[in-house]
């Protein structure tokens, strides 16, 4: 099986540790993962801000870069949802606008082979214990697109529960949005910050050292709020926890 890592532009630029963790984790599980260098951005920010037509070339580019692989793995619930949920919709809209089936046909092949990381681990590889070691207290925030668009459900929690040394504590109001929302964070920053602050306070109330999620965009917002509020917590992507072992613990 030819597996491609779709790291996402945010992770590539700002969170290379998450990318290295995915590579380390998948390699440990016997997957030969490739990083196609042509990859850029899925177009989610464009699409969700109202620039669907500007997102189309990015979606076509994604399809060109990843089309030949058997599986495309991404450590981002929202970028995964962009491909799986919104690429088909972009094709439908183009068709409704009288632009034919070309876009739909171009994007169709990548849709079913795109997996969010925890889906790939649990559904494709069939593993729930990835042999990780992470001696910390962790609370898990299910990010909205992972939760409601992809329906990740129990997968991330099942994976975390199997991690040696990890104590998982429940996050109050876990299913409430953290307030990131892409350009929402800037366009409606007051409401976004109020939501983020409430999320951080809930996380603090658990007494955990680490807030874990499967999407660094949300963690960028939550983490930025955490340090500003001077909490003792830190945000960590689930890939970095799952990649951590007794021999090579996470930094």
């Amino acid at each position: 099986m030819r597996v491609a890592l779709f790291l996402t532009c945010v992770n590539d630029t700002l969170y290379p540790d998450t990318g290295r963790a995915v590579v380390k984790l998948l390699t440990r599980l016997g997957v030969d993962v490739d990083f196609p260098a042509g990859q850029t951005c899925c177009g989610q920010a464009h699409y969700n801000t109202g620039y669907r037509h500007e997102a189309e070339p990015l979606a076509r580019h994604f399809s060109d870069v990843f089309g030949e692989y058997d599986a495309i793995v991404t450590p981002s619930g929202s970028c995964g949802a962009m491909v799986r949920e919104l690429y088909p919709r972009m094709g439908e809209r183009a068709r409704a606008e009288g632009r034919g089936d070309t876009l739909a046909a171009t994007l169709a092949p990548v849709v079913p082979k795109t997996y969010e990381l925890t889906e790939f681990l649990v559904d494709v590889l069939g593993v729930t214990d990835v042999g990780a070691y992470y001696p910390h207290t962790v609370t898990y925030h299910p990010t909205c697109h992972g939760l409601r668009s992809l329906g990740l459900g129990e997968r991330p929690l099942t994976l975390l529960r199997a991690v040696k040394g990890l104590e998982l504590v429940e996050l109050p109001g876990a299913e409430e949005c953290c307030g990131f929302g892409g350009t929402f964070a800037v366009k409606n920053s007051d409401v976004s910050l109020a939501m983020g602050t409430d999320k951080v306070r809930n996380a603090e109330s658990t007494g955990a050292e680490v807030l874990c999620a499967a999407d660094n965009s949300c963690l960028m917002h939550i983490g930025g709020t955490m340090t500003r509020l001077r909490t003792g917590m830190r945000p960590v992507h689930i890939a970095e926890i799952l990649a951590s072992t007794e021999e090579e613990p996470a930094a």
């Binding site: 540790d17 920010a45 109202g50 007051d190 602050t197």
Partner: protein, 493 residues
């Protein structure tokens, strides 16, 4: 606080005030979290909820698809049952029809059943201008009216008020409108409810004209349906001699069998009740029973325009349950007034810019009043994909394009104020279709990282005002991958 929504600032500005109002935040948090939990429990009891939701969606879609036929069926059935049907293209026409009908009775006051349609058209203000006083009889609407306030929730329009504030409003204002509040009124719910009962009772017994909306109109028999909890609706629908009902054209269901679906999903979604306490149905007029004269005013007011939009039309499925408001994290913090419409929350953010257009500052800002978290879609009993419509309307705001206004196809121009964003999005698109350009940008960011400011200028300030910026790493992932061949060269860290 003024009683109308005219001249509202854009959503982010209005929300900024609300976010800082600690009393409002506390009131909303308490109320929405309570009803949210109750709804979840009431819905979980129903084994075939998913099927009911799908059925509701299909019934509404079918009716909207054949609305021309069903509207004529309603007109024929209501007329045959002794009612008079009027057609109103917009708010102004509807207000004129109702005002003329009330004037013709010679009365100068009406009692009202809680109704979103009459709020939408500003009927109370129109009647006031014509010298007719409209008394709201729903408890929360009464609180809003006495407080010269605006509604902030579809189902619980005074949700932004707590008991203490309500006691204060009753004590201060009731005497202006009729029977004063009892001496020594406290803020216990039972005492507040009793004060409202006594105040309203004299209005019910005196009124000759009632004004209502309707939750549903059953086309096969021309029957109107109102569901409510307090019994004030039953009073207004049965005691007056004349009843005038203003109903949006999307409220039709074809048959009684179809109605059954919504009578299960609406109460559980809105008040978390298995069944609402009062369900009133009436078909035209009946001798010796209830009003002798019945008028039905069918209201368009932007609905036909909305129906013409194939993505946006799903908003017309809405049965006004408020589940999306109660679950919305943005509504919980911004409050209902920030939405500048009688329809607040997620449904308001997709309904107002369609019914009113996106010309005003507030209407152009509403599609952005969401983090697209999807909680609204999840709880909607008629499966309105609110995030999908929000994004569709964002596109209309920034790109313009075809739309329908007052029945005419028009091509909208992009809204002002998005030029810089549009340029940035186009630049990003250019870079993102050229991996080499992206890489050069990433390297530049990494190499200059020591000089990055802690706070951002311009629009970026909205980010750094409340959150720290992430630190740019020494090298982007792609450079590490190339340098180490994906870690195979041993340089794992």
């Amino acid at each position: 606080m003024s009683g109308t929504f005219v001249g509202m600032p854009a959503f982010p500005e209005a929300a900024r005030e609300a976010v800082r109002d600690t009393t409002l935040r506390g009131n909303l948090r308490h109320a929405t979290h309570t009803i949210r939990a109750k709804r979840a429990k009431a819905v979980a009891e129903v084994e075939d909820w998913a099927e009911l939701r799908e059925a509701g969606k299909r019934i509404k879609d079918h009716t909207l698809r054949h609305l021309d036929r069903y509207l004529e069926q309603v007109e024929a059935a209501v007329t045959a049952a002794g009612g008079v049907v009027h057609w109103a293209a917009d708010a102004e026409e509807a207000n004129r029809i109702v005002t003329d009908l009330v004037k013709a009775t010679g009365e100068s006051e009406v009692v009202k059943v809680k109704s979103m349609a009459t709020q939408e058209i500003g009927l109370n203000e129109a009647l006031e201008a014509a010298g007719v006083r409209a008394y709201e009889t729903d408890l929360a609407e009464l609180i809003v009216q006495l407080g010269k306030d605006r509604p902030s929730h579809i189902l619980v329009p005074a949700i932004h008020r707590n008991r203490g504030e309500i006691r204060e409003i009753f004590t201060r204002e009731m005497s202006e409108w009729g029977r004063p509040a009892p001496e020594g009124l406290t803020d216990t719910p039972a005492e507040l409810a009793e004060a409202a009962r006594l105040h309203l009772r004299e209005k019910f017994l005196r009124a000759k004209v009632g004004v209502s909306g309707a939750n549903f109109v059953v086309a096969e028999t021309g029957t109107l349906v109102v569901v409510e909890s307090e019994g004030n609706g039953r009073m207004c629908l049965t005691l007056p001699e004349t009843l005038i009902s203003v109903v949006g054209i999307e409220k039709i269901v074809p048959t009684w069998r179809d109605l059954e679906v919504f009578l299960q999903t609406l109460p559980r979604s809105s008040t978390a009740e298995r069944m609402n306490p009062y369900t009133s149905t009436w078909t035209g007029t009946t001798d010796g029973d209830g009003p002798r004269v019945f008028h039905l005013v069918l209201l368009d007011n932007g609905r036909t325009d909305t129906l013409a939009d194939e993505v946006g039309r799903q908003a017309l499925r809405c049965i006004r349950c408020s589940a999306c408001l109660n679950v919305c994290p943005v509504y919980e913090r911004a409050g209902g007034h920030a939405y500048g419409s009688v329809y607040p929350g997620p449904i308001g953010a997709i309904l107002s810019p369609q019914l009113r257009g996106t010309d005003s500052e507030i209407d152009a800002s509403l599609p952005y009043a969401s983090s697209l978290c999807g909680a609204c879609y999840e709880v909607c009993p008629v499966a309105i994909d609110i995030p999908e419509v929000l994004v569709h309307l964002r596109e209309r705001v920034v790109q313009g394009g075809p739309a329908t206004r007052a029945g005419n196809r028009v091509v909208l121009r992009p809204a002002k104020g998005h030029a810089a964003e549009r340029a940035a999005m186009r630049a990003a698109q250019w870079a993102f279709t050229r991996p080499g350009v992206l890489r050069a940008g990433q390297r530049m960011a990494s190499r200059t990282r020591r000089f990055h400011p802690r706070t951002l200028p311009g629009p970026g300030r909205a980010w750094s005002a409340g959150r720290d910026l992430p630190r740019v790493p020494a090298e982007p992932f792609r450079d590490w991958w190339q340098r180490t061949r994906g870690g195979k060269d041993g340089a794992a860290e």
